[in-house]
C-alpha cells in the first residue's frame, strides 16, 4: 500500500469548494419553493446552476494542476456538524484528484444533460398546463441530485459520504417516480430506494465498526490508522462497504432495481442511472482503497461480485426488446467491469475510474440517443416497433452509433482503451483468478458486442416496421430528428465517447489519480501475455457482432416477441429470476408476517388487555349476584367471615 499523502488546508478557489454543491442546492430550493412563478425560467436556472458549479470545478481543477502532485490533496473544514462526547463529525470537504475527477464528470455531463432536458421535458403542444410545473419540479430534483452527488464525492469523512449517499438515493427516488400517476413508476422508485437502503445498512454498519475500532470517521485519520486493525475486522469492513457499493451500483445481488429505474425520464437514466450515481459504489471502493489494500480476501470478493454482475448484465441484455432496459443491463454489466477493476487492487483502481469516465461519456450519449428515439416514437421503447430509423434521424443515428462503437470497444475509441485495460489487468492476476476474471470479462465483451449490435440493427436498420403500427395513443408514428437543444449535447457526448479514452490515457489519468489511489501497478506475471489480450477481446467482439448480424440482421424482425423460446432466453427475459427470488423469499413472507403480526397485536397483546378488563367486568357481574338482598344470606356471609377470622387466628397461634 502507498502511504497516504499529507493533507493541506485548501487554498484559493478550493476553499470555496462548498459552492460546488451549494449553488445547485440553492437552485433546487428556489425551484421547489418558487412555485408556478418559476415555470417560465425555472429550467434555465437549473441549467445555469450546474454550469456555474462546472465552471468553478474547472477553476479548482486548473488550480490543483498547478501544484505538485503530493500537494494536491487538500481539505477545507466548514463547521462541526455532529459533536457529542468524543465524537465530532466534521462538515468538511476533501479536494483531491479523485474527487475533482468526479466533480468534473458530474457537473460536466450533468450540464449537458440539463441542457438536453430543457428540450426533452418541454411540454409538447396540447399538454395540460401543469406540465410546466412538472418541468420545474424535474429541474429542481435534478439539481438536488447534482448537489447530493457532489457532497458524496467531496465529503472528507464517512458520515458526509453517507449524507450524499442517501441524498442521491432520495433524488433517484423522486426522479424514477417522476411520472407519479404511473403505478409502475411509483413501484420502481420504491423498489430502488428500498434496495439502496439494504446497501446503506452495510455502509452504516461499516461506519459504526470504524468508529468502534478507531474512534474517528475522518478519511485521513481512518486511512492513517487502518493498519492498526486486525485482519478480521478489516475484512468485515471491506465486505460491509461492498454491500453498500452493491446497493448503489446495482451489483449482484442487489442489481434488480436498476432496470426498473428506467421508469424515470430518459435524461435521468442517462445522468443518474448510467453516468454518475450508479458509479458511486466504484467511487466508494476506490476512495477507501487503503482499507482494501490490506485485505486480499476482501478484494477477491469484490472482484467476484464484479465478474458475476458483468456476466448477468451482459446475458440479460441480449434478451430484452425494451431499448432502455437493454442499455440498463449494459450499464449493470459495465459497472461490473469497474467493480472487477477496483477489485484487482492497486493494479486496477485507476483503471476502474478510467472506465467509469469513458463509460460516463458513451453510456450517457447512448441514453440520450435512446431518449431522442423515444421522443421521435411517441415514447415507445419497444425496439420491435422501430427499424430503419437511421435515415429518419441522422444525427441521432450517428451519435448513437459512435457511442455504440465506443461501448463494444471498437479500436481507438474510448471503450477500447478503458475496457481492454481492465481485461488485461484481469488476465494479469495470478492463478485461477486471472483465468476466471479475464475469461469472464472477455466473454462478456463478446456478449456486449452481440446485444448492442442487435439493438443497433433493430432500431436503425432494416424495414420501417413502425409504418404499419399505431402508437399506444392511437396516432401514427412520425419519426423526426430532435431539436438542437437535444442534439447538441448528444454530439458533444459522442465526441467525448470517441476521444475521451485516447485523451485520458495520453494525458496520464493514472498519474493524476495517483495521489488518491496510489501508483498503478503493472502486473508482470499474468496468466496471459499483455500483447495477446487485445486481439482476443477484439476477436470475441467481432464474433459477437457477426452473430448478431446473422441472427437479427438478415431476417425480418417479428413485431411480436416470439414465443416459446429456448430456456436460456426465457431465463434471460425474466432477469435470470432475480425478481422472482426477491418476491418469493422476501416480499410474500413479509406480507404474510405483517398480517400475522397485526392479528397478534389486535387479538393477542391488545386482546390480553381488553380480556383482562372484560374478565374483571364479568367477574363483577357474577359476584354481585351474591348480594341477593336476603338478610339471612348477609348474616351467613358475616358468620362465615367471623368463623374464618377466628379459625385463622387460632390456626396462626396454635399451628
Amino acid at each position: 500500500m502507498t502511504a497516504p499523502p499529507e493533507v493541506l488546508p485548501a487554498g484559493g478557489a478550493a476553499s470555496a469548494a462548498w459552492l460546488l454543491f451549494a449553488i445547485p442546492a440553492l437552485s433546487a430550493v428556489v425551484l421547489f419553493l418558487a412555485g408556478k412563478r418559476a415555470n417560465a425560467w425555472g429550467h434555465w436556472l437549473g441549467v445555469g446552476s450546474v454550469l456555474a458549479s462546472f465552471a468553478l470545478g474547472v477553476v479548482i481543477f486548473v488550480q490543483t494542476l498547478g501544484v505538485a502532485p503530493e500537494q494536491r490533496t487538500t481539505e477545507v473544514s466548514l463547521y462541526s456538524w455532529i459533536a457529542s462526547g468524543t465524537l465530532d463529525v466534521d462538515f468538511g470537504l476533501r479536494i483531491d484528484p479523485l474527487s475533482l475527477t468526479f466533480v468534473l464528470l458530474i457537473t460536466g455531463v450533468g450540464s449537458l444533460i440539463h441542457i438536453y432536458s430543457v428540450g426533452y421535458m418541454a411540454p409538447h403542444e396540447g399538454a395540460e398546463p401543469s406540465s410546466d410545473s412538472s418541468r420545474r419540479r424535474f429541474f429542481a430534483q435534478l439539481n438536488l441530485f447534482v448537489a447530493a452527488m457532489l457532497v458524496l464525492v467531496l465529503g472528507n469523512n464517512f458520515v458526509l459520504l453517507y449524507l450524499g449517499w442517501e441524498g442521491v438515493g432520495l433524488a433517484s427516488y423522486l426522479l424514477i417516480g417522476f411520472y407519479q400517476d404511473r403505478p409502475s413508476a411509483a413501484t420502481a422508485a420504491k423498489k430502488a430506494f428500498l434496495m439502496n437502503r439494504v446497501g446503506d445498512v452495510g455502509l452504516a454498519l461499516a461506519i459504526f465498526l470504524l468508529w468502534l475500532e478507531l474512534g474517528t470517521l475522518q478519511y485521513t485519520e481512518v486511512f492513517a490508522r487502518i493498519g492498526e486493525l486486525g485482519g478480521g475486522t478489516i475484512l468485515a469492513i471491506t465486505l460491509l462497504l461492498l454491500l453498500g457499493a452493491c446497493g448503489k451500483s446495482g451489483q449482484f445481488p442487489l442489481q434488480a432495481w436498476l432496470p426498473d429505474a428506467m421508469e424515470g425520464p430518459t435524461p435521468v437514466s442517462a445522468l443518474i442511472h448510467a453516468a454518475t450515481m450508479v458509479t458511486a459504489g466504484v467511487y466508494l471502493i476506490a476512495r477507501t482503497n487503503p482499507i482494501y489494500d490490506l485485505s486480499a480476501t476482501g478484494r477477491v470478493v469484490v472482484a467476484l461480485i464484479g465478474v458475476v454482475t458483468l456476466l448477468i448484465g451482459a446475458i440479460i441484455g441480449c434478451a430484452y426488446d425494451d431499448i432502455k432496459k437493454v442499455l440498463a443491463y449494459s450499464t449493470v454489466s459495465q459497472i461490473g467491469y469497474m467493480i472487477l477493476a477496483v477489485g484487482l487492487g492497486p493494479a486496477g483502481y485507476a483503471l476502474g475510474i478510467f472506465h467509469l469516465l469513458t463509460h460516463g461519456f458513451f453510456k450517457a450519449g447512448l441514453f440520450l440517443g435512446a431518449g431522442s428515439v423515444m421522443h421521435a416514437m411517441n415514447d415507445d421503447v419497444n425496439m420491435r416497433h422501430f427499424g430503419g430509423l437511421g435515415r429518419r434521424m441522422p444525427i441521432t443515428f450517428v451519435t448513437f452509433g459512435l457511442g455504440y462503437l465506443a461501448l463494444i470497444g471498437f479500436p481507438f475509441l474510448s471503450g477500447y482503451f478503458s475496457k481492454d485495460a481492465i481485461i488485461e489487468a484481469a488476465f494479469g492476476q495470478e492463478g485461477w483468478q486471472g483465468w476466471v476474471y479475464g475469461g469472464a470479462a472477455t466473454l462478456a465483451a463478446g456478449l456486449t458486442a452481440f446485444y448492442m449490435t442487435r439493438l443497433m440493427i433493430m432500431t436503425f436498420f432494416g424495414e420501417e416496421r413502425w409504418q404499419k403500427l399505431t402508437a399506444p395513443n392511437g396516432e401514427h408514428y412520425h419519426p423526426h430528428e430532435s431539436p438542437p437543444v437535444m442534439t447538441g449535447p448528444m454530439i458533444l457526448l459522442a465526441i467525448g465517447s470517441v476521444f475521451a479514452g485516447f485523451v485520458l490515457s495520453a494525458v496520464g489519468l493514472n498519474q493524476w489519480l495517483a495521489p488518491s489511489l496510489g501508483e498503478l501497478e503493472e502486473s508482470t506475471h499474468g496468466v496471459l501475455p499483455h500483447a495477446l489480450v487485445p486481439w482476443l477481446v477484439l476477436a470475441f467482439s467481432a464474433l459477437g457482432v457477426l452473430v448478431a448480424y446473422l441472427v437479427v440482421g438478415r431476417r425480418p424482425t417479428p413485431v411480436e416477441r416470439p414465443e416459446p423460446v429456448s430456456l436460456p432466453v426465457r431465463a434471460a427475459r425474466r432477469d435470470l429470476y432475480a425478481n422472482a427470488v426477491n418476491e418469493s423469499v422476501i416480499e410474500r413472507p413479509g406480507i404474510w408476517l405483517t398480517r400475522a403480526l397485526v392479528f397478534l397485536d389486535n387479538r393477542g397483546v391488545d386482546g390480553l388487555v381488553n380480556g383482562l378488563a372484560a374478565g374483571l367486568g364479568g367477574g363483577s357481574a357474577r359476584l354481585r349476584r351474591l348480594q341477593t338482598g336476603f338478610v339471612r344470606s348477609y348474616a351467613l356471609s358475616m358468620l362465615g367471615g367471623s368463623v374464618f377470622v377466628v379459625a385463622a387466628l387460632l390456626a396462626v397461634r396454635f399451628a
Partner: protein, 99 residues
Amino acid sequence: MSPTNYLLLSGLLFTVGAIGVLVRRNAIVVFMCIELMLNAVNLSLVTFARINGQLDGQVMAFFVMVVAAAEVVVGLAIIMSIFRTRRSSSVDDANLLKY
C-alpha cells in the same frame, strides 16, 4: 361442677342463636335469636366473673340487659313500621335492595 360447662353452654346458646338468625324468616323470631345470643354472652360473663372472683362481669351482664332492652324498643319500632306497609314480617319479603 366445673365452670367450663357453663362456658360451653353459653357457647352452645350463642351458636344456636346464630343459626336461628340464619334459618328463621320471621323478623321477630330472628330478633329473638339475637337476644338469645346476647344472653349467651351474659351467661359467660357471669361465669367468668365467678372464675375471676370479681363482680365486674355480673355488672356487665346488667349493662348488656339494658342495652338489649333498648335494642328491643328500636327493633320492634322498625319491624312494626315495615309490617304496616308490607303487611308481612318475613325478612325474606324485604329484598328490593340487592345486587
